[in-house]
């Protein structure tokens, strides 16, 4: 079942068509891969879906709702979490505080209504709320086996751990769909292996994952469904086996034989 779908989504920067009429589908409960050569428009597509960028035209449907052009904070409250290609942690905060930020809007029962009352209540019971958040954040850290680093500053973590922390922060909001933008970039093989385990765990948790990745081994191993972009256009979609043997995909990556 499709949980998220884009219809003829386009993004034009001046004269450059970064994303051109893309119909991208995300299937519920699966790991959806998004691949393509550099500059294919993968991150632009991500940014549009998560509200960081406004589409030039087209429509984004999430869970039966039209979320086109909504601000990023609203979209994330609807249940779309993401990580970033260049890690964006709260560097001067501790690891556990980073995860607490991920829990930020989970405090109230309804993500939109009664926010003011929430804020007032939080003002008077700040330390109690902080303790609760702290306990919840520690649970998420234990999911990643990071309890021992909880009091470390986020900036002091090694690169691979920073990426994991970013995923932990995104997961803390208990999203329906988790977007990972090149989670394995810059990781060594052991770390990538560890990451694959994490993605698998997330999938078992019932959270739909969408990931952009250049590491083909990783993509082919963990993705259930792959979409290929090239020069802003969708050129293929299917299972890893179909993608591997698709001539258009091979051409996009390696060039045509008679060139």
């Amino acid at each position: 079942m499709k949980i998220l779908e884009t219809e003829n989504l386009s993004r034009i920067f001046g004269g450059v068509v970064a994303v051109n009429d893309v119909n991208f589908s995300v299937y519920e409960g699966m790991v959806n891969g998004l691949i393509g050569p550099n500059g294919a428009g993968k991150t632009t597509l991500f940014n549009q879906i998560t509200g960081m960028d406004k589409p030039t035209r087209g429509k984004i449907m999430f869970d039966g709702k039209d979320i086109t052009g909504l601000p990023a904070w609203k979209i994330s409250r609807l249940g779309i979490a993401r990580t970033f290609q260049n890690i964006r942690l709260y560097r001067e905060l501790t690891v556990v505080e980073n995860v607490m930020m991920g829990l930020h809007f989970k405090v109230g029962s309804d993500p939109f209504k009664g926010r003011f009352a929430q804020a007032v209540k939080s003002y008077f019971c700040a330390s109690k709320e902080n303790r609760e958040l702290y306990a919840q954040a520690m649970e998420w850290l234990s999911f990643f086996g990071m309890e021992s680093e909880a009091q470390e500053f986020a900036r002091n973590l090694p690169y691979g751990r920073q990426r994991e922390l970013e995923i932990a922060r995104a997961l803390a909001a208990e999203p329906k769909v988790l977007f990972l933008d090149e989670p394995a970039a810059g990781m060594n093989p052991a770390e990538t292996e560890h990451l694959m385990g994490i993605v698998d765990k997330i999938k078992k948790h019932g959270i739909t994952v969408v990931l952009i990745e250049h590491d083909m081994k990783l993509v082919m191993n963990i993705c259930d469904n792959i979409t290929v972009l090239s020069f802003g256009q969708k050129i293929a979609e299917g299972s890893p086996e179909e993608i591997r043997s698709n001539p258009l995909v091979i051409e996009a990556y390696l060039g045509r034989e008679d060139d």
């Binding site: 998560t50 509200g51 960081m52 601000p71 990023a72 904070w73 609203k74 994330s76 409250r77 979490a81 993401r82 970033f84 964006r88 942690l89 709260y90 560097r91 001067e92 905060l93 501790t94 556990v96 505080e97 607490m100 930020m101 991920g102 930020h104 809007f105 405090v107 993500p111 929430q118 804020a119 939080s122 003002y123 008077f124 700040a126 330390s127 709320e129 902080n130 958040l133 702290y134 954040a137 909880a150 009091q151 500053f153 002091n156 922060r169 995104a170 909001a173």
Partner: protein, 312 residues
């Protein structure tokens, strides 16, 4: 001598209020703003006009000043929402100057002989400094408690997130625009009340005194004391005011010209930025993710010195 000490304490209190406001904008939310002199000006005028022109009580002027400054803070916050860092700094600098220039153009002399603040028939005058110290520092204490609580609540958490990374904050469901404008509004409100006390003390309002230098001084207090650390900010206010009145205090005002104080605190800042860039008290390591009990916290506070050298 004692008189000067008392004067320093009073001004440190007034500026501590300003610095608490600036801290809300710069320390917590990470917006480099330079228009606190403008809020100060609005607060002073509010007291001046209410007490003298309208003949009403000083106590009424406090909420009015806070509301007027808050409205101006809100109006400054909205258009500068998209600006960051040095761009925001220049824009707010201009806006602060606009407020001062409007005041100057309306009446360059300002307001004179404003009636004193009164409480149950007792008049707070600059002659009896001790009661004035109590008055100002009572409000500093109130502001400290209010803003401390704020910085630990969900609003404060969201502000911290905005300071650390706006994009990440958005992706965590935080409405960045709301918190930025909110921080400006709150910071301006408390800056306005500082103006009230200044007027109540000097009993005059002169538009020429709300220059850009005042904003810079307030920013220095925040940076000096430690951004985002409320106690540090108050310490910063003390230090800057002490340096300001240092020549008079040691009776050397004829030897050291007034301008030299600016050189002294410029030097202090440079030295401090080299030795301790995070400010005197620095940031609290734990903001809300503190697992320790109150007792453990107290113990580690006093042991702070011993653990140094580990992590910078």
């Amino acid at each position: 001598m004692l008189n000067f000490f008392q004067l320093i304490i009073i001004y440190a209190g007034i500026y501590a209020l300003m610095a608490i406001g600036q801290n809300c904008i710069t320390g917590n939310t990470g917006m480099l703003s330079l228009c606190h002199a403008g809020f100060f000006c609005i607060g002073s005028y509010a007291t001046g006009i209410i007490c003298k022109t309208l003949g009403l009580s000083f106590w009424l002027s406090l909420p009015v000043a806070a509301i007027c400054s808050a409205v101006v803070g809100f109006l400054i916050g909205v258009p500068t929402l998209r600006l960051k860092g040095d761009y925001l700094c220049i824009a707010t600098l201009g806006l602060g100057e606009i407020i001062r220039n409007i005041a100057t153009n309306m009446n360059p002399v300002g307001l004179m002989s404003i009636p004193r603040a009164e409480l149950f028939g007792y008049q707070f005058s600059s002659r009896n400094k001790v009661t004035f110290i109590l008055l100002v520092w009572f409000f500093v204490l109130v502001a400290y408690i209010l803003f401390r609580q704020l910085s630990h609540s969900r609003i404060g958490r969201a502000m911290t997130a905005v300071r650390e990374d706006e994009v990440a904050a958005q992706s965590n469901g935080i409405n960045v625009a709301k918190y930025k404008i909110g921080a400006f509004t709150l910071g301006a409100a408390i800056g306005g009340t500082a103006g009230c006390f200044a007027t109540a003390y000097t009993l005059t309002v002169q538009p020429s005194s709300y220059t850009f230098m005042v904003s810079v001084m307030v920013l220095c207090m925040v940076v000096l004391g430690g951004m985002g650390n409320l106690l540090g900010v108050i310490v910063g206010a003390f230090i800057i005011e002490f340096i300001q009145y240092f020549p008079q205090l040691v009776g050397l005002s004829s030897v050291i010209p007034a301008q030299a104080t600016q050189i002294i605190y410029g030097l202090c800042l440079v030295v401090l930025m080299i030795w301790r860039p995070q400010g005197i008290l620095g940031r609290d390591k734990y903001r809300y993710g503190d697992p320790r009990s109150a007792k453990e916290r107290l113990v580690s506070f006093f042991r702070r010195g011993e653990k140094k050298g580990g992590k910078a």
